[in-house]
Subunit: 201 residues, 2 copies
DNA sequence: ACCTGAACACCGTTCAAGT
DNA sequence: ACCTGAACACCGTTCAAGT
């Protein structure tokens, strides 16, 4: 394990333990037994180190989505599985999640990071595409529909992680809300032959 | 204008000009001609000052939504108007937007801030409710549907503001994506008597 | 009640110097 | 090629002291 890899691993651990502000170059260096400016020999600055952490996680997510997409099964359960993986990642690693999907300074770095993010996005879009071929989701532009679903997913996770979506207030969990979204979108894609009403009993 | 009000105004101006990291207590104090720790006589700490900035903006948004809701007009155009106001706020004041809707440390403060945020949310939910009475949106639980629409809106704005949703890649703008969402949700609420297809001409 | 100046314990970053 | 220690210019926060 190279020093650079150890720095990335230590930064990720500090991120999980104490949030972004806990990832100081001094703490990262101390965690692997080097001085507080040894990281500068491997990364341009603190932002580049955090970007390296993000790239690793984007690749993990891409692999997870690829495994789901190529697995056997119906498209809609596979989508639900992918959504659950993503929601769980956001809940279990909120600081990492924010780094990947909600930190403006990190995204501004572009380069390898942006490409890794796009690979994750396109792998996810493949799962959406399968749902469209079976008419479980509407036959609009795949990239537009993926953007919409992904943005909803992100919004739910970000609002929940920031404490702005409290279940006590009767608001739904990300999982429930995504279930609602796919159900409603599915209804618009495949209008029921027998008109069902949700209000009466 | 009290010193406290001047501090809040100066903090908001610094936020717009240079982002959250530009809002240092030294810069805020200097902007209104007091020392760098004068703010401590009016706010508990830096976070409380930022929370005060957020509260002012939540109230502005609440008022804007209330004006739209009580205006004359059809529910669906009123919703579109509210969405545009929100999207424009996010685009024109990205740092303020993040403070209100995406900063975990600020939301953790609770109290008056949380109440101001809830008032904004409930005002928005009233506009959604009108669209549900006219069957322009599905007749599911109002709070669940509002959560879903609001989370989508937030996700789109946050991803765009962070540079993660690039139009060059064929991804839609928040405005276009929200149009798609309301159209699709509308179709599920009010299945067309004459089945229209979007693919043919 | 409101404000100031000095001080403390942190930061990221740079740089000369070492191996 | 990789690392260190000192130094610099910042931070937020605390505190004794002033009016």
């Amino acid at each position: 394990m190279s020093t650079a890899e150890k720095l990335v691993a230590a930064a990720a651990a500090l991120l999980d333990a104490g949030g972004e502000s806990a990832v100081t170059l001094r703490a990262v260096g101390h965690a692997i037994g080097v001085s507080h400016n040894a990281p500068y020999k491997h990364f341009k600055d603190r932002g580049a180190l955090l970007a390296a952490v993000a790239i690793v996680d984007f690749e993990t997510l891409t692999d997870a989505f690829a495994a789901i997409r190529t697995s056997v099964g119906e498209p809609l359960p596979k989508l639900k599985h992918a959504l659950d993986v993503f929601i769980r990642y956001g809940r279990d690693y909120p600081a990492r999640y924010r780094l990947l999907f909600s930190d403006p300074d990190i995204a501004a770095q572009g380069g390898h990071l942006e490409q890794a993010a796009l690979r994750t996005f396109f792998e996810f879009s493949g799962i959406i595409a399968e749902c469209q071929t079976t008419r479980d989701l509407p036959a609009t532009s795949n990239v537009k529909l993926t953007s919409l679903v992904f943005a909803t997913l992100h919004g739910l996770i970000d609002l929940e992680s920031g404490g702005r979506m409290r279940h006590e207030k009767g608001l739904s969990s990300p999982s429930e809300s995504m279930q609602l979204l796919t159900t409603l979108l599915g209804q618009s894609a495949k209008p029921p032959l027998i008109k069902k009403t949700t209000s009466g009993r």
